[in-house]
């Protein structure tokens, strides 16, 4: 599969399939499904005016099917005082795993970082995702265990104004 599959940047016409893959990815990680309208929101983030920060790479099988995707964007490290490339997603359909497509997507993300002049890539995976952990460890990536928090912005006590 590897020799015939290709990785390229997503085009606007890929979005319906990318949204399906995002939904599969969220289900795989036992997260809530995407809210309606994700295709439109991603269109704005990926193909909107200006210089969109988010990038989406897709793995394409010889028959034209998209078998997976990766997204990434430059983010800011306070400790280093520089931007790095954050890989927000890397996902392959179950049937397309184990054929080298993950390595192709990672190589494309590295190429993206290189093109942006960024020297580091960071990402995270659930601690129970053993297949992903084996794959990332084989790449030579280093990792730390973190607790990742989410909090709605709204504050019942009201938010202070700052000067």
């Amino acid at each position: 599969m590897n020799e015939d599959a290709a990785v390229r940047h997503a085009h606007p016409e890929d979005l319906p399939r990318v949204v399906e893959l995002v939904a599969e990815h969220a289900a795989y990680e036992k997260a809530a499904p995407p809210a309606p309208g994700l295709g439109d929101r991603l269109a704005g983030l990926l193909f909107g005016p200006g210089r969109p920060r988010l990038r989406c790479l897709v793995a394409v099988l010889p028959d034209g099917t998209l078998a997976g995707y990766a997204t990434c964007a430059p983010e800011l490290s306070t400790w280093d005082g520089v931007e790095y490339l954050h890989m927000d997603c890397l996902y392959l359909t179950e049937a397309s795993r184990g054929h080298g497509l993950g390595a192709l997507l990672m190589a494309a993300v590295r190429a993206e970082a290189h093109a942006l002049g960024l020297t580091e890539i960071q990402w995270q995976t659930p601690v129970w995702n053993e297949g992903a952990i084996r794959f990332y460890d084989r790449l030579g990536a280093t990792s730390k265990e973190k607790r990742r928090y989410t909090l709605p912005t709204a504050h019942p006590d009201g938010a202070p104004s700052l000067h």
Copy 2:
């Protein structure tokens, strides 16, 4: 301490002290110390031209000492198709913990998210940081355990070019 301490946005003249706090924070998390020149790099990220994405909030004691800081920036969620506010750092010197300054900094980060029109804040802490975990859990934040990866961009096999 809480009644007399204040949280405000960092000014350029705060940077030498912010860099000290960043170094303390990195040491506390058993990470490598900041590379030389961090003050200059942060000046560019925080006070450079355009609309800088990174924001730095500082906790100021009555005597004018900076006892802690938080940094945050809008980042991109593929699954949601929107930006959220990523809190990159929240740190208080050991002597200034337990007096409500952490809550003041978090309230300021929430205000920042609100001002930017972002509905969610995300951040992470090491799994061994029990004090921080108790503090964040009390706020009502939800969390998941993640393995956070870092990889240099450079690829020994060379990176493919994409079309």
